[in-house]
Symmetry: C2
Subunit: 297 residues, 2 copies
């Protein structure tokens, strides 16, 4: 990783951290325990991959920093809420996340449920409260886009398909369909909302960017599956080997590790090609792409 | 109940029902089980008190029907999601709702979790997707208002306070604080969002309307507590006597039934007075108020 990118990464990670820190309700504000738990799950952890994508896409479209950070934070709050709910006993029943006890282990199940619910509300509050663009009509469209990405035909729907697939043999297209929803929809929203905070890209460019986002979303998941199969719990900060243990279909269970790695590289190349079509250099998005695909590989 | 109001009531209830019916994803659209469960919990039941308040407030401010029904549906979706999550074993652990098995009993806990999550997303999607007013800036403010009403300093926060209060002796002001959040915030949003779809009320009138909404929200809860203590499970369509069984503080446990009834009547009068201050007749809101306070009394 070159020094310039490393500096950018740290900078952007601390920017999103301090924005979230300021926007989350204080833990001395009632109900204190709920607010403390919301801060516990959101702050001080995570690679912030979705916000990084928003920032990189925002730079490309000439967006203002103060706008992109709002959209990036909203996407990250939706992501954080989904992790809290996914870790609950009735879902993946996980006890470790980002190297810390999961929310329902640290607090209790009811609190974890309400933490997730409240983080989702807060995401939409931020999207409506602060100006993302000079065009309120466009801001409404962006809120709709985030809601669709989060909902039953996006992330939550992907989670439902995931649950229904435990113990089943899926084909590669079926697995892809699941992940396009479960992780892909929100990653796509992260890229597109970041870009739409600016005015610098035309519709054709936005459509290439959308294709880039789809590729990168899938690549992210393929890498996740490889890491789950190969990395240690300590390195991941979450329980490793859960997929095989829970008999979940993954890219590794269908393709094996070698072919899964090759698929990730193919998707990475496909993402590069989509960026080529933009007609403008997108060095940050290229760097973030490599950062996503090559983590721990 | 007079015939005119009865006609209005049926009309509005069927209007919101058919709007929700059209906006909820079809149950033959993937993921089918999730969409079927979303429709199961939202459709075909409930008095639709919050939408009725939105409609009555919208009539007062000269709002278009096509706008008010969107806001009313969004509020009802937030309410429906909260019921599904509240009924989960880690919360109130209830098995009966609107005379039918609760979502996690009919389906399973994971599905109920995702149903609630998806209904919340859908509420914000509707608020952003369809025009509520001619002013997109105002629509953004309305989305913010709904998000605040739903979140950790609104409904979800009230639920957290409720959980923390089980088995405790609360004072009347503490109980009121809880309910202002738990049920009050969303009822207030129902009234105000309905009114704000139109342009007919000035800021002073809106502030009286807001006071009306606070009174009616509390009155609603007091009546709920009395009904829980006095009505049968069959009449309620949900398990009666749960509050006492779960050792929850209620208006009845603090005041007794007689004084709780008197409090409901006082709040009703306070609500009437707030409407008097509007300077325009608000016959529908008066009728809906009576409908809320006098149900089953």
């Amino acid at each position: 990783m070159n020094a310039d990118f490393q500096g950018w990464l740290k900078n952007r990670q601390s920017q999103i951290e301090s924005y979230l820190e300021n926007r989350l309700p204080a833990d001395n504000c009632a109900p204190e325990r709920l607010h403390e738990a919301m801060r516990y799950v959101v702050l001080g952890g995570g690679k912030r991959i979705r916000p990084l994508l928003s920032f990189a896409a925002g730079e490309l479209s000439g967006a203002e920093d103060e706008s992109v950070v709002v959209a990036a934070a909203a996407v990250e709050l939706i992501h954080a809420y989904s992790l809290v709910h996914d870790d609950l006993p009735c879902m993946d029943d996980d006890t470790l996340r980002r190297g810390k006890p999961t929310c329902h282990v640290k607090y209790d199940e009811a609190t974890a449920l309400l933490v997730g619910d409240s983080l989702q509300s807060l995401a939409f509050q931020l999207m409506a409260e602060f100006p993302l663009t000079d065009h309120p009509h466009k801001q409404l469209e962006m809120i709709k886009q985030l809601a669709q990405a989060a909902g039953s035909r996006g992330m939550a729907g992907g989670q439902a398909i995931d649950l229904a697939s435990v113990g089943k043999l899926l084909t590669l297209p079926e697995l892809e369909f699941m992940h396009i929803h479960k992780t892909g929809a929100l990653i796509r929203a992260a890229v597109m909302l970041g870009a739409r905070c600016g005015e610098g890209l035309n519709d054709e460019q936005l459509s290439h960017l959308d294709h880039f986002a789809k590729c990168i979303g899938l690549a992210f998941q393929v890498v996740d599956d490889v890491l789950d199969a190969e990395a240690t719990t300590a390195a991941l900060g979450k329980t490793a080997g859960k997929d095989a243990e829970q008999n979940k279909p993954t890219y590794v269970s269908i393709l094996g590790v070698k072919q899964a790695r090759e698929l990730a590289e193919d998707l990475q190349k496909d993402a590069y090609r989509a960026l080529d079509h933009l007609g403008v250099a997108a060095p940050r998005l290229l760097q973030v792409t490599d950062f996503i695909v090559q983590r721990e590989f």
